[in-house]
Structure formats: structure tokens, C-alpha cells
């Protein structure tokens, strides 16, 4: 009998009991594996978060894909290509980890393509100059690392294992971005200006990427218990700012926040008000590139259909042929 079927005929008390044991296992730092009993809410929450994470990796390829053919040198081109390929890999690790929770790959694609599932709002901003490749690697991958490192210890085994692999690969992404920024910052005045402009445009969206303020964040408490989160959004954001400001100093660039100031007492930077209206507008689909991203994604899926079908037909034919040869 499948775990789900069994759940339906269990008494409420039995379920409560199982849930208690389940929470205790997680509190003891035990991992949950795909076939283990789990509360429906745990399954659903993980499907939501993990698939959104996978979607973000996949859609995240689009803004950078925009510059692969126009990279300024072969060195930059192979690096960007490898970086974008890694993001595809991250999406695939995460999709297959999510499938272990009983949702199919097709259902997940369907949710993304119909707009039912979300992806990180940052990928709805345009990449208008080469410096954006630098700013994305430095800031967007930088913020992603801060988000992802704690997930290497999350309670769901397949998610934790996928994140360990992802985190190992992210450091190259951030370094290649920073190197682009460094080169531009030390280049001609126009190049430096280009780097500054990219920082101006990506700084605030990168801060928003770490999620709504703690006061507005709905899932935090439960997520902390399940180790889907280990630090609050505001703490992660502060960590990101504190480690990024000195990096901007090295570049000789100015962070576009007049309120940014070192706070001796807190041992952290104070920073200005984030425009959360903008964040929610983008989340709701009204960012500068939401439509373009979905169009590109759905288009790629639809244009690839004949290839998927042909590969399947070929596989079936070869199978048939092999069977005949055996007889």
C-alpha cells in the first residue's frame, strides 16, 4: 500500500503521532528520504520551493544567454558558456530531486509555462550591456550563494545533496563575474562607467532577491523547523550587504545607496529603504521582462517538441529491432 493511501485510512491521532516522530527526526538532524512517511504539508512545501528553485535556474539562463554570442573575447565566451551550462545542470539536479516527491517533470514544466509556478524575480530584469554579465555573476550569483549554502544541510536528503553539488559550482560563477567587473573598472573611463551603471541597476534587485522582510515573510517559522531556512531573509540580506560593500570598494565603484553607512555599534552596514512595491510588481508579472522570459521559455519547449518525439520514436524502433534480432 502506498504511503498516501495508508494516510487516508489512518486516524487523526495516528497521524499526529507520526508527525511528532517526524519532527523529532528532523530536530535530531536526521535526513528524510523519498520513500519515508512525511506530512502532506512537508511534501507540498518542498515541491513548491524545490520546483521554484529549479525554474529559477532554468529561466536564469535567459538573461545571460543573451550575451554568449557577443562576449568580448574567447576567454569570456567559454567562461560564460560554461556558467550558463552549469545553471542548466542546477535546474536538472533540482527537477530530478523534486520528482522524488511524486510530481512529474511535465507537471512542473506545465506549472512554469502557465505562470502557476514562480521563479526568482531577479531574472525579469534586462541585460543591456556586457557589464551586466559581470554584475550578475558578482551580485546575483553572490546572493544565490548566500541563500543556498544553508540549504546544503536541509532536512530533505535529495534537496540537500543537490545543493551540495550546486554550491560547489557557484563559486566559479561569482568569481568570473567579479573578474569582468574588475577588468571594466580598471579600463577606460567609458568601461568603468559601464560597470558603475550595471551596479546601479542590479544592486537593489539583488537585495530584493533575498526575499521579503521578515515581517512580511509567511513561511519562515515552519521553514526554519524543516531546515528549508536557517537564517531569516533580513539576516541573509545583511550578510550579503556586509560582504559585498568591501568588494565594491576594491572595484572602486559606488553602491547606489546614499543611506549606506557603517554602523560601528552593530558591526554592520545600515542601508536605505528597499522599494518593495517594485518587488511585488515584478513578482506579480509586471517586471520589465516577465513576458519576454516566458515567451522564450515556452517557445523553446514547443520548438523542441518534434525533437523529443523523434528521439522517443527512434528509441522505440531500436528496441523493437533488438527484440526481433533476439528471436
Amino acid at each position: 500500500m502506498s504511503p498516501e493511501r495508508k494516510a487516508t485510512i489512518m486516524s487523526e491521532e495516528q497521524i499526529k503521532n507520526l508527525e511528532k516522530q517526524f519532527e523529532e527526526r528532523i530536530a535530531r538532524d536526521e535526513k528524510i528520504e523519498p520513500k519515508d512517511w512525511m506530512p502532506e504539508k512537508y511534501r507540498k512545501t518542498h515541491i513548491r520551493q524545490m520546483s521554484q528553485h529549479a525554474h529559477s535556474e532554468i529561466v536564469g539562463m535567459l538573461p545571460e544567454g543573451n550575451w554568449i554570442t557577443r562576449a568580448p573575447s574567447l576567454r569570456r565566451k567559454v567562461a560564460l558558456l560554461a556558467k550558463v551550462q552549469d545553471e542548466a545542470g542546477h535546474g536538472l539536479y533540482l527537477y530530478s530531486a523534486t520528482e522524488t516527491l511524486g510530481i512529474s517533470r511535465d507537471e512542473m514544466y506545465e506549472q512554469l509555462h502557465t505562470g502557476k509556478a514562480k521563479y526568482s524575480s531577479i531574472f525579469n530584469y534586462p541585460t543591456i550591456t556586457w557589464a551586466d554579465m559581470g554584475a550578475i555573476g558578482w551580485l546575483v550569483d553572490g546572493a544565490a550563494i548566500i541563500n543556498q549554502v544553508p540549504l546544503c544541510n536541509t532536512s530533505y536528503g535529495p534537496y540537500a545533496r543537490a545543493m551540495i553539488r550546486v554550491c560547489k559550482e557557484e563559486s566559479f560563477h561569482q568569481r568570473q563575474g567579479f573578474e569582468i567587473m574588475l577588468k571594466l573598472s580598471n579600463g577606460t573611463p567609458e568601461q568603468k562607467e559601464m560597470a558603475q551603471d550595471a551596479l546601479n541597476r542590479w544592486w537593489w534587485p539583488a537585495l530584493m532577491m533575498l526575499g521579503p522582510t521578515d515581517a512580511e515573510s509567511v513561511h519562515t517559522e515552519q521553514s526554519m523547523k524543516w531546515k528549508l531556512k536557517r537564517k531569516s531573509n533580513d539576516d541573509l540580506r545583511q550578510q550579503f550587504i556586509d560582504q559585498t560593500v568591501p568588494q565594491a570598494d576594491i572595484l572602486g565603484l559606488t553602491i547606489p545607496d546614499p543611506d549606506l553607512k557603517w554602523n560601528e555599534e552593530r558591526g554592520s552596514y545600515d542601508f536605505g529603504e528597499i522599494n518593495w512595491d517594485e518587488f511585488w510588481q515584478v513578482v506579480k508579472g509586471h517586471g520589465p521582462c516577465n513576458k519576454e522570459r516566458m515567451k522564450a521559455r515556452v517557445g523553446a519547449w514547443e520548438r523542441g517538441e518534434w525533437v523529443r518525439d523523434a528521439a522517443m520514436a527512434y528509441a522505440e524502433k531500436s528496441q523493437e529491432r533488438k527484440k526481433k534480432q533476439v528471436i
Partner: protein, 95 residues
């Protein structure tokens, strides 16, 4: 809509000779050859392996964690399978 979806495959990678193949994850592919190629691109982009196995997921029979009691408990009370079960005087060396 595609007529048929690519099946799911489990990927096992030997990191280097001398080590066993270890489960790395899974992926979708139309057939075994494609599964191998995709596994190379998805799981070994940085020399993580010297050998890959792919197995269609539906061919794996897995034990059910709900039956872990019957399945694994019988080994629990068999302490005599461990060297520490045997009482020997301290003078006995190399054993």
C-alpha cells in the same frame, strides 16, 4: 503535446578507479545511449567520474522504509557478530 515522455534514469558514477559507483541523481532520456550522454553532461562536467552506469528507474526494486522493522531489526540483537562481543584477557596482543 508529445505522445510519450522520456523515461527516468538513475545515474551512478565511479569517481575514480578503486572506488565504487555511487548514486549521483537521475535524469530523463529517450534511451540508454542518450541517458549516458546526458549523464556525462549533467553530472560530470568537472571530471567527477571515470565510469557511468545508467539504469532505467522503473527497473529498480527498493525496500519500503515502513517495513524497516522486519527488514533490519533482526541484525540488531546479534552482537556476537562484532569483535567486541568476545572477552579476551588484556595480555592477548594483535587480535
Amino acid at each position: 503535446m508529445s505522445t510519450k515522455n522520456w523515461p527516468l534514469w538513475e545515474v551512478f558514477v565511479r569517481s575514480k578507479n578503486g572506488l565504487e559507483h555511487r548514486h549521483f541523481g537521475s535524469l530523463h532520456a529517450a534511451d540508454a545511449d542518450m541517458a549516458l550522454e546526458n549523464a556525462r553532461d549533467v553530472y560530470t562536467r568537472r571530471n567527477e567520474g571515470v565510469s557511468i552506469w545508467v539504469v532505467e528507474s522503473k527497473n529498480i526494486t527498493a525496500s519500503n522504509p515502513e517495513h524497516n522493522g522486519e527488514m533490519f531489526e533482526p541484525a540488531q540483537d546479534k552482537v556476537y557478530r562484532h569483535p567486541t562481543f568476545y572477552d579476551l584477557p588484556d595480555e592477548v596482543k594483535h587480535m
